[in-house]
């Protein structure tokens, strides 16, 4: 227990560093552009996502859910999603259902609660993994082009790719501001358990405080960006249909896309078949 809490308070700032986070975010966005999933047409992938993101909510048959889950698990592996994202996914899903199971037991439920909870877990997991596949398997530019094809405003797709261009810079700056607090601050002593709790609170507090200088610095820096965007014709492009067509000209549906859809369809069909058989 002592060791664990020690580790926890250490971890927040040192091991689990900004540097690590930054690296994971970049890896997630751009580190896997040579995978099978990344090569697919974003429009096909978005349509695929529409199915796997919605249908599981309305179906309660275990074989069907299990089939879908296995399929999205395979696509997630194919997309080579960064470790951090998978960790957050696992933490989210299992803490949620684990907590529900505990509460059920506490209020007089018994093991029969396992089945409905399993179904819920499968639904949540399937939908989350489908999202992870699409949103982190594709690089931001392809994703935003796909969205644009479906008629999302240009502004949204620009924001997505611009956010990814800015994120590394912002995270580095955030890291430095945080370091300013750390270097100049005077953290509470943390030898006792009480002190450790206080130290944890202190760390969370300075993380929150660091956002204030970060926002001001960003505001300052955006003055140039706004002018530069004007010079670089951003406003012209937003209203020009030719530009949109040129951007989307790069999208092509290939043989692989059909193969992907066919395999997905086969999986779903098989699991539906199982549902009717058993």
């Amino acid at each position: 227990m002592e060791r664990l809490s020690d580790k926890l308070s250490e971890n927040i700032l040192s091991k689990f560093s900004m540097d690590f986070l930054r690296n994971q975010v970049l890896k997630n966005a751009y580190g896997n552009d040579d995978t099978v999933i990344a090569a697919l047409d974003p429009r096909i992938l978005l349509a695929w996502y529409l199915f796997f993101g919605l249908v599981p909510w309305f179906v309660n048959e275990l074989p069907f859910l299990l089939g879908c889950f296995l399929l999205v698990m395979v696509t997630t592996i194919l997309a080579r999603v960064a470790g951090l994202v998978l960790f957050l996914f696992a933490l989210g899903v299992f803490s949620q259902t684990g907590y529900l199971f505990l509460v059920t037991l506490l209020f007089g439920g018994d093991a029969s609660a396992v089945m409905p909870l399993l179904i819920l877990t499968l639904k949540v997991a399937t939908i989350s993994l489908a999202s992870v596949t699409v949103f982190s398997g594709l690089d931001p530019d392809r994703l935003s082009n796909g969205l644009m094809w479906y008629g999302c405003p240009e502004r949204l797709s620009f924001s997505i790719s611009y956010a990814y261009r800015m994120l590394p810079m912002l995270m580095e700056e955030f890291q430095n501001v945080l370091l300013s607090y750390r270097l100049r601050g005077n953290p509470p002593a943390h030898e006792t358990l009480r002190g450790k709790v206080r130290y944890l609170i202190y760390q969370v507090k300075i993380i929150m405080q660091s956002f204030y200088p970060l926002m001001l610095n960003t505001a300052k820096r955006s003055r140039t960006t706004v002018e530069a965007l004007e010079l670089r014709g951003y406003r012209y492009a937003a209203v020009n249909q030719t530009v949109k067509r040129m951007k989307l000209a790069a999208l092509k549906v290939s043989y692989n896309d059909f193969l992907f859809l066919a395999i997905s369809f086969l999986c779903v069909a098989l699991s539906v078949l199982c549902c009717t058989l058993f």
Binding site: E173, L183, R184, N186, N217, L229, V243
Partner: protein, 565 residues
């Protein structure tokens, strides 16, 4: 033919009491390479924004007079049209880059203006700016100099006749700076572009520019060919512009009567050779070296290895088994090109980065199991970007913060004293971010010394400053010598290195390639080629005249080279 013609331009920013540009008239010929010089706030950037139509189309305000670009009145045109005639590269150029990959960014403007061959244009622009082969790279993989070239390529891709660059080399080491100017010369000579730069580095003006324009209080003082312009030493100095060191030395000698010639003052080392050929070298009296007992070691690196995670592929190694000692009382300059590991070395000393192998110790104790917070009394780091040090809403609070939370007695008095020492008393309530470059830098230094650290680390304290402010900061650093014991400065600024440091450490590819006094480092010819460091111009001048001469300042030069033969 005049590509730029300005007739009686008056411009006042919205809400400003005084006009920034007043009765400004100017003609720039097609194919010119023009340097704009002038004081801080004399309207240089405003003038450039009036050329590309941001004024008056994007920034409102009172505008009268006429600006003609290639015969087109900017008021009758629009920003998009003008962007294809005038390209602009900002001083904070990284904020100008909006796309994640190199080719994407270079072709972005062309795509927006619906050129069907936008990718081809992007590629051509990259080739013209010397970035071939990097098309698919992500922008965070580029060095500072390459990022600047990319910003330039983004402007070049639209095929403008005029290119404007606001302080292009302020953040770059000499090698990257040369590269930028070589590219600009190429664009000027081979592709016929008219280049306008706002520039403080008169050495570069002397080497590359054809004309110089002096702005003063929003007016054109004069526009002259470069070698004539740089002769006006007094006039330039009155505007805080310092001519090349060779010119300054000749000017000083002429005034002292050491050389009496009606000839023009030299502006480059080549010209200087002719001018100074009559002088004789007098070796200065060598002060006996004090051979003290070696003082105690403050920081030591033992077999330190360090690498960064990379997005793809293997981690990038920065240091491989580095060994280094820093002793008490030393004033050290850490030099090396961008990306040589200077900042990493500093971050390891304050415990922000942990080495993968080996130990870093501070005052004899390993810092491996210490927290960064606990080290801050002993060692302090001043960042390159002062904005990242402002964590409170006034600089008074910022300077006081570390002392206050530690309950240091009389923290308020000490804060007042520091504010006075760094001449910030009147600005005490201002937010650091809203101050000028020099004030921000002074505030960050005050924050750095607040806890009286045994070791002070400064990352690029003079980067991004104009020459006048740089001098001011150099005086402050000189002045600080007696309140700090041991200090390490990472910098590209060789004048600062020569005047300030008593020990120079040269980093290259993660190893120490040279370590010693300025004489030991600068007299090694192989280093200059290998690492790309360059001594101040006056040092090169003295060397050209007399291979044994080691002069680092203009005063030393005028002392060593005196009577005529």
């Amino acid at each position: 033919m005049n590509v730029v013609q300005i007739n009686d331009l008056m411009y006042t920013y919205p809400g400003a009491a005084q006009p920034t540009l007043r009765h400004l008239s100017l003609e720039v010929e097609q194919g010119d390479f023009l340097a704009i010089v002038g004081n801080n706030g004399c309207g240089k950037s405003t003038l450039c924004k009036a050329l590309n139509g941001l004024i008056p189309h994007f920034i409102a305000g009172d505008f009268s007079g006429q600006v003609l670009i290639d015969g087109v009145d900017t008021r009758e045109s629009d920003v998009g049209e003008l962007a294809r005639k005038v390209g602009y590269v900002y001083q904070d150029f990284e904020n100008q880059i909006v796309r994640p990959t190199v080719l994407d960014d270079a072709s972005y403007s062309c795509l927006n203006y619906a050129y069907p061959d936008y990718l081809e244009r992007g590629r051509t622009a990259l080739a013209q700016c010397g970035l071939e082969g990097r098309e698919e790279e992500y922008i965070w993989q580029l060095s500072g100099g390459q990022t600047h070239l990319l910003a330039l390529a983004g402007a070049v891709s639209l095929g403008p006749d005029v290119l404007i660059l606001d302080e292009p080399i302020a953040q770059l080491d000499p090698m990257h700076a040369d590269r930028i100017y070589e590219v600009l010369r190429e664009l000027n000579a081979r592709h016929g572009k008219t280049i306008i730069v706002i520039e403080h580095h008169t050495e570069y003006i002397a080497d590359y520019c054809k004309h110089v324009l002096l702005l003063k209080d929003g007016q054109v003082k004069w526009k002259k060919p470069t070698d004539q312009a740089l002769q006006c030493v007094e006039e330039l100095q009155a505007c805080n512009i310092f001519p090349p060191q060779v010119t300054q030395a000749a000017y000083q000698m002429k005034r002292l009567g050491c050389i009496c010639t009606a000839e023009r003052l030299p502006t480059t080392v080549e010209q200087g050779k002719k001018m100074f050929s009559q002088l004789r070298f007098h070796a200065p009296a060598v002060l006996p070296c004090e051979q003290n007992a070696q003082p105690e070691t403050v920081v030591s690196f033992r077999d330190v290895s360090m690498s960064y995670r990379s997005v793809k592929g293997d981690p990038r190694t920065v240091f491989d088994r580095l060994n280094l000692d820093i002793r008490k009382g030393e004033k050290i300059a850490l030099i090396g090109s961008n990306g040589a590991g200077k900042s990493t070395l500093m971050k390891m000393m304050v415990g922000l980065l942990r080495p993968a192998q080996g130990t870093v110790s501070l005052f004899g104790e390993s810092i491996a199991d210490k927290k960064a917070e606990d080290l801050s009394r002993q060692i302090s780091l001043v960042y390159q970007n002062p904005e990242e040090m402002f964590i409170q809403d006034s600089i008074y609070a910022d300077i006081a913060y570390a002392m206050k939370v530690r309950g240091i007695p009389d923290w308020d008095k000490r804060t007042e004293a520091l504010l006075a020492r760094f001449r910030l008393s009147e600005l005490a309530d201002r937010d650091g971010r809203l101050m000028s470059g020099g004030q921000m830098r002074r505030a960050s230094l005050a924050i750095g010394v607040a806890l009286n650290p045994g070791v002070l680390l400064l990352d690029e304290p003079t980067a991004n400053l104009d020459i006048a402010t740089r001098r001011e900061i150099m005086t402050v650093l000189e002045d600080m010598k007696d309140i700090i014991q041991t200090a390490v400065i990472a910098t590209h600024d060789m004048q600062l290195v020569c005047q300030w440091a008593d020990r120079i450490i040269v980093l290259c590819g993660g190893t120490v390639v040279a370590d010693g006094t300025r004489d030991e480092v600068f007299s090694r010819a192989d280093l200059a080629e290998r690492v790309g460091i360059r001594p101040p111009e006056i040092f090169t001048m003295a060397k050209a005249l007399e291979p044994q001469a080691l002069c680092y300042t203009i005063d030393e030069f005028t002392d060593c080279f005196r009577e005529e033969r």
